[in-house]
């Protein structure tokens, strides 16, 4: 009884807060209203520790989305985690996560940002290792250590900011821009955001974090936690303009988008495909942010949160139905058995691809148009459009594998939706992923962007999408007479398949050498030479000499007296003889 009630109570209050936030957002938006609350904790030698809260339309809107997604995810967990013994612990962890996220969203103060940021990292670690098997432990370590790098950078920003005497960064943006040394801070912030949003050197942890239960993946690793980095950069975006490092960020995030798109096409794990598509969209957000268009990044962040959470929830239903099997090679033809989930999945997939008038269309199309208006170089243009095509490619491949191909696990089977709870919770997000794009468009962009493009450039998105769709169809329909392209270019395929060996380069590789070095130092130095020369060695020398002296002192005094008598007599005789 209590098991169900904690889910319902949490759902109810989170949903209520979400609605309240929505109305506040409308109010703040219309009247262009900002509330800045400050509570001074302590002040010493011109340094003030201030707890502050910033409520403007951006934080309220983001909070509304986070609370909405977390409420439906908790409602969904009631059914998904129904066989879990410690459901209360699970829900508490999710609530703790939501709390950290909200703290991060509303704080204009770098210290409280760190609190929220660290809370996110810690709770996400606890949630990744929730299923306590070896795979989860490894993934959890990878996640925690990768995010730790970002935490350290934020800590360094805090130390650096002591020069200003306060940590309310919003007041110092313009000063920081003028000071060359203080610009270091912006680089640190960018690196921190890159770890949280899993951009290229740090992107190995996001697919690994899929060891978490699926509701967690829906809430944490698709819509909220990973967008914390993007949100931080949106908040700092005044500081970031005209930086050389921002150009590197554009390159890295573009490459992230491309790499994730390619890897998603080679991946067979259902959740990892969706995680890689999240990574691709995060690359899109980061890259548009690094061109200085923060509102567009924020817009895409919100719409993406909706349909990606929905996609993960659909994946959860499918995984439950398949008895924990996540490999899409086992699946197929599920649309005949779970039509509603397939419908939701198709809608969210289409929203992800940017099919017109669904959520993803409004943000993605606008972003691509703005990219074309910017007249960037051909390489960046190539990355954007190939990645857009790749989105279509892997989405279509996923749909083909799940819904159109034959079922591949058993010969006699009966698949079904388990209950209405999951379907109901998905319904909310389904409506949001249809309407939120146009809704937010009306709210946020009250004036239209003027876009002026040649017709073929404007239709480029459609061309690459159609091409991607064709490729997705071709790669997923396997015939007897076709040759295996994977083994034909085996080395290249495995390079692309394993995320450009990113896990090996950035995490396993580094860990391996440093752990190896630690092991060597333990063996050779701590337990070897230093022991030989200090502890054990000194003891051995002492022991040896003690035994030697003991020989003279204790055992045979008589012999020694006799021996020394004879010795002295010989010396005496020799002296006599010489004289």
């Amino acid at each position: 009884m209590f098991k169900n009630s904690i889910c319902f109570v949490s759902f109810f209050f989170l949903f209520l807060f979400s609605l309240i936030n929505f109305f506040f957002f409308l109010f703040f938006m219309i009247y262009n209203y900002v509330i800045f609350l400050e509570w001074e904790l302590i002040s010493f030698s011109s340094m003030s520790l201030v707890m502050s809260i910033l409520l403007d339309w951006m934080s309220l809107l983001f909070m509304m989305f986070v609370l909405l997604i977390s409420s439906v995810v908790i409602y969904y967990s009631k059914s998904y985690m129904s066989s879990e013994m410690n459901l209360n612990r699970f829900i508490m962890l999710v609530l703790l996560f939501v709390f950290s996220m909200v703290l991060l969203i509303i704080s204009p103060n770098i210290i409280s940002i760190l609190l929220g940021w660290d809370g996110l990292g810690l709770v996400s670690y606890c949630l990744v290792i929730y299923y306590q098997n070896i795979k989860s432990y490894n993934a959890g370590m990878l996640t925690a250590l990768s995010n730790r790098i970002g935490d350290v950078f934020i800590l360094m920003v805090i130390f650096w900011m002591m020069n200003y005497g306060s940590w309310n960064y919003v007041f110092y943006m313009d000063f920081m821009k003028n000071d060359y040394v203080m610009e270091l801070m912006s680089i640190m912030i960018i690196i921190a955001a890159m770890t949280k949003s899993a951009q290229i050197p740090f992107s190995a942890w996001l697919p690994a974090a899929m060891a978490a239960p699926t509701p967690v993946s829906a809430l944490v690793h698709s819509s909220t936690l990973v967008t914390a980095g993007v949100y931080l950069l949106i908040r700092f975006n005044v500081l970031l303009l005209d930086k050389f490092f921002l150009k590197i960020l554009l390159l890295l995030s573009g490459l992230t988008m491309f790499m994730a798109g390619i890897s998603a096409n080679y991946e067979f794990d259902l959740k990892k495909i969706i995680a890689l598509s999240t990574l691709s969209q995060l690359g899109l957000m980061m890259s548009i942010l690094s061109m200085g268009m923060a509102e567009l990044a924020f817009f895409h962040l919100l719409t993406h949160a909706m349909f990606k959470a929905l996609l993960f929830m659909c994946a959860g239903v499918i995984i439950h139905m398949m008895n924990d099997i996540q490999d899409i090679r086992f699946m197929g033809g599920i649309s005949n058995f779970i039509p509603y989930t397939s419908l939701y999945m198709n809608i969210s997939n289409m929203a992800l691809c940017g099919i017109p008038f669904l959520a993803g269309f409004y943000s993605k199309d606008l972003i691509l148009d703005m990219v074309m208006m910017k007249n960037l170089n051909f390489f960046v243009f190539f990355l954007y459009f190939i990645s857009t095509g790749l989105t279509m490619f892997y989405s279509f491949r996923l749909s083909m594998y799940l819904m159109i191909n034959d079922f591949n696990l058993l010969s006699v089977y009966n698949l079904y939706d388990e209950d209405l709870v999951m379907l109901k919770s998905m319904f909310v997000l389904m409506m949001m992923s249809i309407f939120s794009g146009s809704m937010l468009m009306w709210f946020i962009f009250s004036y239209p962007y003027v876009i002026y493009l040649p017709i073929n450039l404007k239709l480029m998105v459609i061309y690459v999408s159609l091409f991607g769709m064709l490729m997705g169809y071709m790669i997923s329909s396997m015939e007897i007479y076709l040759m295996n392209k994977f083994s034909y270019i085996y080395n290249l395929s495995s390079f692309l398949c394993l995320m450009w060996f990113m896990p090996n380069l950035s995490t396993y590789g580094l860990n391996y050498y440093f752990l190896n070095m630690g092991q060597m130092m333990l063996k050779k130095i701590d337990m070897g030479w230093s022991e030989f020369y200090s502890g054990q060695g000194m003891f051995m020398i002492m022991k040896k000499y003690t035994i030697f002296y003991n020989f003279f002192q204790m055992n045979n005094n008589f012999n020694i007296y006799l021996f020394s008598f004879v010795l002295w007599m010989i010396i005496y005789l020799m002296i006599l003889m010489v004289m």
């Binding site: 299923y131 098997n133 795979k135 924990d324 099997i325 996540q326 090679r329 591949n408 007897i480």
Partner: protein
Amino acid sequence: MANVPFLGLKTHSQKVCSLYKRVLRNLEAFYDRRNVYRYQAVLMRARFDKNAKETDMRKAVELLRQGEEELFSQIHPLPKKFATSPGGVAYERVVQSPDWVLDYWHPLEKAQYPEYFKKREQRKKEFMAMWEKEYGKPDPKDQHH
């Protein structure tokens, strides 16, 4: 398998069978449609059958080595695993602790569930009685375990 002289020592035919099975699993990972997989599996079976009657042992060992090498160079980076088997995503996700763990609970912990443990002690006694009735009491000199 009672007459295996040394554990871990495999005969040549065992090694070939093991290779064959791994090759089939690898093909399964590549060709995920069943009919395509069967076609490829038949082709692979023909390759194995071609050399099945090889009597020259040196040649057979060389063929086996080549086969292993080919498999290694063609192994799928993301092998198809069942979720609850070793290497799968849900392996050891639900661990059922063995029954004897309950005997090592602290008395205070046991006191939380008095009825269950009372019944458990009773059942243990009954089981001992049943065992002794069927197999007799253990020999006191028999100390090994």
